[in-house]
Symmetry: C2
């Protein structure tokens, strides 16, 4: 970043220059302390211009056709006059068969579309770290004029909750198979959804997709949506034939309009910002404690004793915190 | 606690003396620092004798007949030769219509049964604080020889998750009404359940209860249980007539046997202990930060700016943590 100040980089991002966007995201992904200071200056400059997109979280089990869907959905959204950024939260992206975004070639037409910006999942071992970088990348893309941001995650672990906590609307893609084959979906994921789409509703699978829609409608009917006065729509679509893709976008637009009018979206974002700050504070503090060389021995011993039920967790915690806050090596 | 050392109190608890149990729980509920030190000594003495109960979480919407169910279930469990402690997690217990345990008179026969120990929800404004005290009260009851611990919560907010995270098995009571009337159940609560019971399956409601059981079976079928190789049973029961209460206890016993054999229960408890320690560390650190007088002004200002989207959460967090760890008033 030597040749460019954060301020000039911010200006280039605001003009929508693609190389600047890539550089800005690389900057916020860096863990070097001096880069972090630059990243803070960059974000402060961009922040007044961010926040004007509709932020969509999207998830689905492997095999659901997520990359094909994102390609069809993204191209449709661009055809409607919008610009779409596609980001990813996938802390395990190093493994094979992970995030689709590790392999842009799977979204051939979208990746070369000037109305789209696709960024693979950032490197990082912890979900918290990956989530932070994705949140910040989202702000950069918004400042660069992308008014639709899609945050993708693979259907594993805690990442869906994390994505739902940083987006306006959480979209879940499901397979038309229904029943037993769906046991692979993690508990609570369906319940995060503001919009459920049964993909691959084409050819031999069309009938099964219809049954799956009915089944999910019935299951979701029992649960209250997190969004205000919103009954979660369950629809089928086919990313392959394009059927239902326009309806999916229309539902997103409906959601945005209704939730803007009733104030829910504004409230959700304020709460998300505040929760994000406290998460950051909490993670920073824990990281300092874990990194404290003075504490390493105590920590390993007490954690093992706590797991084995030989030490009360509260006592162990209080001991560690007291030592951390009193100790000389706390920074 | 002036007349009794933590060690002598522990001895009395181990003998199962009811007044000692009450005193011990009062001690761990105290927020006075000297009491806390005594509580730590008490818990260290009791811990080797704790952990031998089956820990059951129970929740249900108001009106589901939870107090009647706990009374019938508790009496049945005692008839089988066990001793049952009933605790509560309800951070909002001050409001009217809150925890049933605020009003022991609703469990007339159980509350006077020598095989039962009932403790109302501890005072406390935060869920974390209430949860900690309930976890510790559970250890005290176990050390006192109660081999079944029931932790009750009202069907609101985050408290179900908290209860599920401190128990071996989470039991959910539902109304036989089904459909729209059940929209009041929070998202994700059903999915915490290891056992679902549709109560009030008597008289006019018997048929509706049967339909609700079928409906929930179908809905739960789509979701994977958190427990290993466990298909969540959905059954009807009537706390009023007693029908299905014995079956409920049998399912708890089945769960315990299977999850002990396959090692899941041991693993769940180890993970719970470790997570509890880290939660405590995190909460302690946050509490110290929030209480820091040096930080109060910055904190209020930055939090407002973050909510309004005027300040990046990461920047605000880093600023606050750096000031906290460097500042003189950090304790």
């Amino acid at each position: 970043m030597s040749s460019q100040t954060p301020e000039s980089l911010a200006d280039a991002v605001l003009k929508g220059e693609r190389r600047a966007i890539a550089r800005a995201i690389t900057l916020i992904e860096s863990t070097r302390p001096d880069h972090r200071a630059d990243a803070d200056r960059l974000l402060e400059k961009l922040l007044p211009h961010a926040g004007r997109s509709i932020r969509i979280g999207i998830s689905g089990v492997p095999g659901v056709g997520k990359s094909t869907f994102i390609e069809a959905f993204g191209n449709h959204v661009i055809d409607q006059g919008h610009r779409i950024a596609v980001l990813a939260v996938d802390p395990s992206s190093k493994r094979s068969g992970g995030s689709i975004l590790g392999d842009k070639t799977r979204m051939e037409t979208l990746s070369v579309n000037q109305g789209a910006y696709i960024r693979p999942s950032p490197a990082g071992r912890t979900l918290g770290g990956v989530a932070r970088r994705t949140r910040e990348a989202m702000l950069i893309c918004e400042a660069a004029g992308f008014n639709v941001v899609l945050v993708e995650t693979v259907g594993v672990g805690q990442s869906e909750t994390t994505v739902a906590e940083m987006t306006d609307l959480f979209m879940l893609l499901l397979l038309p198979s229904g029943g037993d084959e769906l046991q692979g979906i993690k508990k609570g994921i369906v319940e995060l959804a503001d919009l459920v789409l049964v993909n691959k509703a084409d050819g031999d699978m069309a009938a099964a997709a219809g049954r799956a829609v009915a089944e999910y409608k019935s299951a979701l009917h029992l649960l209250r949506s997190a969004a205000r006065d919103w009954q979660v729509p369950v629809r089928s679509c086919s990313a392959l034939t394009g059927e239902g893709i326009d309806a999916a976008w229309d539902m997103v637009a409906d959601f945005r309009r209704q939730m803007t009018e009733n104030g829910f979206l504004d409230e959700r974002r304020r709460d998300q910002n505040q929760a994000w700050m406290w998460n950051e504070i909490s993670e920073n503090l824990l990281q300092h404690l874990k990194d404290s060389p003075d504490l390493a021995g105590d920590l390993a011993r007490l954690e093992a004793e706590v797991r084995a039920g030989q030490q009360p967790p509260v006592t162990a915690a209080r001991h560690l915190v007291a030592r951390f806050l009193a100790g000389p090596g706390k920074m």
